[in-house]
């Protein structure tokens, strides 16, 4: 908690000097392209739902951890109860390096180093925050792009007890408490996202060699079991 607060305040202090930059209006069209990096986990626009990450409609003015129906990391919950709200300035600081801003966030994203990219994506997100009733007609954002999966596979009900055993292979690298220190968090994902991602590794549509190897020998039931287990973990 203490190190987190220290970081948090130092980032706030830092943002004072960058407020002017953060207020620079970005280009929402360019921001839409930047948002492609976010789409694997976040939806925004009409019909957007919580997926691996929370939906981003009405984000401006929303307190951190502000959606009741989404399970946030403890770190983001603490930030919310300490008064963090999402605005251009706070988003700018968060997006630059999410893990240094909120050290325990499950958002497995290195950040946008380019201030221009940040301003543009913030301008894009701003389009969906004017008034929830007045969300502009936008394409419903794509979910993960790398799947075209048999519905029968998605329909398999996983056995969480088997998943708990299988998960011990995952937790050598992925932390069971959702921490992310260089290897992404995999806890509390929607089960279908988990299944889609694992099958994408299994079929080598996703590139990581360790994950291709691990997923390559898991059968459909085992992947479903893991999805059920990781979705059921306490935060």
């Amino acid at each position: 908690m203490v190190p987190f607060l220290r970081l948090y305040f130092s980032v706030l202090a830092m943002t004072v000097s960058t407020v002017a930059a953060a207020n620079t209006l970005g280009d929402p069209e360019a921001g839409k392209k930047v948002f492609a990096k976010c789409k694997g986990c976040h939806q925004v626009g009409e019909g957007a739902r919580n997926r691996i990450g929370p939906h981003l409609n009405g984000l401006f003015g929303r307190p951190a951890a502000g959606l009741k129906e989404f399970t946030y990391s403890k770190s983001i919950q603490r930030a919310g109860s300490s008064g963090l709200e999402w605005h251009a300035e706070t988003l700018d600081a968060f997006l630059e390096n999410p893990r240094s801003y909120a050290s325990g966030t499950r958002m497995s994203f290195r950040g946008l180093k380019s201030p221009e990219d940040r301003h543009n994506v913030i301008a894009y997100l701003r389009l969906f925050s004017d008034d929830p009733a007045n969300i502009p007609e936008a394409d419903p954002t794509a979910t993960a792009t790398d799947h075209d999966i048999d519905q029968a596979i998605l329909a398999i009900q996983g056995d969480p007890e088997y998943g708990a055993y299988l998960s011990s292979e995952c937790t050598t690298c992925h932390q069971a408490d959702g921490g992310d220190a260089g290897i992404p968090s995999i806890v509390l994902w929607p089960e279908d996202e988990f299944v889609v991602a694992m099958h994408a590794y299994k079929t080598k549509q996703r590139n990581h060699p360790v994950m291709q190897m691990i997923a390559g020998r898991l059968n459909d039931e085992e992947i479903a079991a893991l999805a059920a287990y990781f979705n059921s973990l306490d935060n």
Partner: protein, 421 residues
């Protein structure tokens, strides 16, 4: 410490009573007991998983002499200056909080008939299932001229901690343009890429602090793990600094003189400033004392890591002879989970799932230049057999190498959380 000792003595009293009344398990009021010897990647993981998953149905005792465990993995990064020694030290408080009875003592004897482990500090601990994860010891006279009494003059630094700190201090004290020698081990040994990552980290340090210094490696092997990747990296980053003398050039014909600080390779004597001797290895001594070794290692059954010699004694990690898996922290952690599941099943009737094993070894060659090798394994009646694997390629992009290094940092956080809670 006092607290632990008191709890431990309390348990001994119970154990003594149990000896007087055999068939403890049938009594209905005593819980099954698992004793784990060795608190590294195999033992700590096994103790933690059995305690966690049995939810109090099994008494788990971990016997480990040190109070702070320094991981051998990432200890080379300390030599290179990428980590502080504190970064690789871990206490056992998390395991104790997770229900493991942590006893800081040496296990010095195993009575397989009475099913007890005796401790250097006195007393015996009773077990229903005994898991040995003692890591490695060195083969006597494997390198002529070197024995354990010479480890201050010529450190092995292959059990992390004070030896690693000593080697670092000697590296830092090297005279300008001095010579760092390594005597590499014969197969099989702990962490196949370890000596060569160490050479890389030593070179990284010297390049910045003592750029005219030289590194000589006397190697009894004709080739080694990730050889093409290391040799590419050495040529790219440390050109002209490292002289690797393999078996073909007499690297196996080596002796040392710790008093004179000389290394003789294939008849040619060289005066050196630092000499890192990594001798041939064998299972940690308690495995031999327990009578479960055959030669240098303890043969085990692949399905559950039980020894061929005794179905109630299991051996994990470096000390085991299991088949195709390399001796690594990742392997030991993987084997520990298979073993924990099987032991829990045998003692409480919980569901036993089929064994699955995996391993990945990351190595750092230079800042942000990480490489990896890995494989998956399955249990066959004969051994743990390799199923599938991969290795980093030569000529990979700098971005990919950096991502691989960052991934290794993530893995370190992950596995140490998985071991120690």
């Amino acid at each position: 410490m006092k607290m632990n000792r008191r709890i431990f003595l309390g348990k001994t009293a119970v154990a003594t009573a149990a000896v007087a009344a055999p068939m403890v398990l049938a009594d209905g009021h005593a819980k099954p007991r698992v004793v784990v010897v060795g608190g590294g990647a195999g033992g700590a993981t096994a103790a933690r998983y059995i305690a966690k998953d049995s939810k109090g149905e099994i008494d788990v005792t971990l016997i480990e002499p040190t109070r702070t465990y320094y991981t051998c993995f990432f200890s080379n990064l300390y030599l290179g200056g990428f980590k502080e020694i504190e970064d690789i030290g871990h206490s056992y408080g998390g395991l104790a909080a997770g229900g493991v009875n942590v006893v800081h003592d040496w296990a010095v004897g195993v009575d397989r008939d009475a099913k007890t482990v005796s401790l250097a500090g006195g007393g015996n601990v009773k077990y229903d299932k005994l898991i040995l994860s003692p890591g490695i010891d060195f083969v006597d006279m494997a390198v002529p001229g070197w024995d354990i009494s010479a480890q201050n003059a010529m450190p092995h630094a292959y059990k992390a901690g004070s030896q690693t700190e000593l080697l670092k201090a000697q590296l830092m004290a090297m005279p300008e343009g001095g010579t760092f020698a390594m005597v590499a081990p014969t197969n099989p040994y702990r962490c196949p890429p370890g000596p060569y990552e160490r050479v890389s980290m030593v070179a990284h340090y010297l390049k910045a602090n003592n750029p005219t210094a030289k590194i000589i490696v006397a190697d009894p092997k004709p080739k080694f793990s990730k050889m093409a990747l290391f040799q590419e990296g050495w040529a790219n980053h440390y050109e002209g600094m490292i002289d690797w003398i393999g078996e073909d050039f007499g690297g196996g014909n080596v002796s040392v003189d710790p008093a004179a600080m000389t290394v003789t390779i294939d008849g040619e004597e060289t005066k050196v400033d630092v000499c890192n001797v990594i001798p041939a290895m064998k299972a940690g001594r308690i495995a031999e004392i327990a009578g479960v070794t055959d030669g240098n290692w303890a043969p085990v059954n692949a399905a559950d890591m039980s020894t061929k010699a005794d179905p109630d004694i299991y051996v994990l990690g470096d000390a085991s002879q299991q088949g195709d898996m390399p001796k690594s922290g990742f392997s030991a952690n993987s084997q520990a989970k298979v073993c924990a599941n099987a032991v829990r099943g045998a003692l409480t009737g919980s569901k036993v799932f089929p064994a699955k094993f995996s391993n990945t070894c990351w190595s750092l060659i230079e800042t942000n230049d990480g490489v990896k090798v890995g494989a998956t394994y399955e249990a066959t009646p004969e051994k743990i057999a390799k199923v599938d694997g991969f290795i980093s390629q030569t000529g990979e992009s700098a971005d990919l190498r950096k991502a691989t290094y960052e991934e290794s940092e993530g893995w370190y956080s992950g596995i140490t959380a998985d071991m120690f809670g």
